[in-house]
Structures are given as C-alpha cells and as structure tokens.
Symmetry: C2
Subunit: 135 residues, 2 copies
C-alpha cells in the first residue's frame, strides 16, 4: 500500500512578496532558498526550507486561479499542505476506492515529480496536495 | 540570534474526531501516535507523526475558544503552524523589536515546553505558534 513519506511543504498564500518576506525572513528568520516563477501554478513561489520540510510563500501571477481568488477574498493565509508519497498512482486508486473526492483524478506529470490535489470537501476543509518525487 | 529549528506541527481544526480519522488515518494512511485531552488548549488532540513533524487534529472541547469559533464558522480546516525555536524568549524580544504583534507577549511555561502565539495580523493571516522544547 502506498505510504506518506513526509510533509513536503506548507503553502501560504500571499498578496505581496515583500511584505511577506518582512515577516517570514526578516522577523522570524527563515532562509530563502530561491524565488521561482511557476507558470503551471500561475504563481511566484518563495521557497523557505525548514528542517526536512519547506514553507512556500505563493503569490498569484494571474487573476484566474483558485489561489488568486483566495488572496482576493482572504488577503492571504494558510493555503494547502503537500505530502510526499512513495507511489502516487496507487495512493490515488486507494483514495478513490474509499470515496475521497479528487481535484485531479489522475496524477499530473511535471519535471521531477508527479502531483495531484485532493478536494477539501473530502478532507474536512484542508486542500491537500500529493507529490511523488521522480529521481 | 534565536533560530527556528523545525516545523513542530501543523494544526488542523476538526469538528468531529471520527470523520477526521476517516480521511487522515483510514484513507491517507497517517498513523495515530496518541489522542490526548489538552485542557490548557480546551481541546482534544490527535497526534499524527509525519517524518520529523506532526499533523495535529484539534477538536474543541469547549465553546469559548478561538478554535471553537473557527470550527463553528468554517467547519474546520488549516488552523495554525507551530515552529520550534532554540530560544523563545530571545525570539519574542526580536519579534517585538521588529513591531510584530503577539497574542502572547511572554512565553507560557507548560510541562516540557514554553510557547507563544504570534498574531495573524502580523503574519499575513497565518496563526503562528512558537515552541521551545525544554529537556
């Protein structure tokens, strides 16, 4: 059976990169590994490693995304959790068998990883992403 | 200067323990370490280790808490992040010097740890808890 390996990242939606860095980097002291434009997610992402996981500050770069609507409505905040799994296809089969509603019925393949989102309706209101890292 | 060591836990507010376990334990496959009544937080907590961090499912046991209002208003969802810091008193001094608004101006001492919450107004909408583990 497919297994969760670790928490890959916690994504925090932000309306403005500089004011987010004022808190997370300058006050709290987290280190920025890099900042990257991620067109597939219509966002700019600040990657901040914390131990074996990461805080990702995610800033929408388009107005037509769930992330952009989240920032418009709430101003920002905790957006999703991403767990690494050893076999994402098997995990998706298990979740669907158990009646869990998926945003992505099948894993999307991206360079270095496969990913899928689980619908918050099936998780008690938490947007959950799954990653399988492809070496 | 005080440093963040790791993400201690991600807290998820839940309205019902059994239906939360249906997803997090039975479908996603996370393991329950233990379930504990935490009177100081007016909650019952399901501790689920994931790598070096934990997912904590937090169920309010009283109606007069921020957590209870969160569950009543939103039904549940991502509630807060808790980071472990090597020196919480020094960290609180730094945060206050930088104008960060605290929920707890001074760390509370509990068995095995000192803790304080940062106000979401200063973090871009994220409730952030700090822990210093006392050995």
């Amino acid at each position: 059976m497919a297994k969760i390996i670790k928490l890959n990242h916690v994504a925090i939606a932000i309306g403005d990169v500089n004011s987010a860095l004022n808190f997370w980097q300058d006050a709290l002291g987290l280190s920025v590994d890099h900042i990257e434009d991620v067109p597939s997610q219509k966002s700019e992402v600040v990657f901040m490693p914390v131990g074996e996981t990461e805080v990702e500050l995610v800033h929408p770069t388009s107005e037509d995304s769930g992330l952009a609507r989240f920032v418009t409505e709430k101003g920002g905040g905790l957006h999703h959790l991403c767990f690494e799994v050893d076999d994402i296809d098997e995990m998706l089969d298990t979740l669907k068998e158990k009646g869990i509603r998926m945003i992505d019925e099948h894993a999307k393949e991206l360079p270095g990883r496969k990913m899928a989102f689980i619908h918050p309706k099936s998780t008690g209101g938490v947007l959950v992403e799954l990653y399988q890292i492809i070496k």
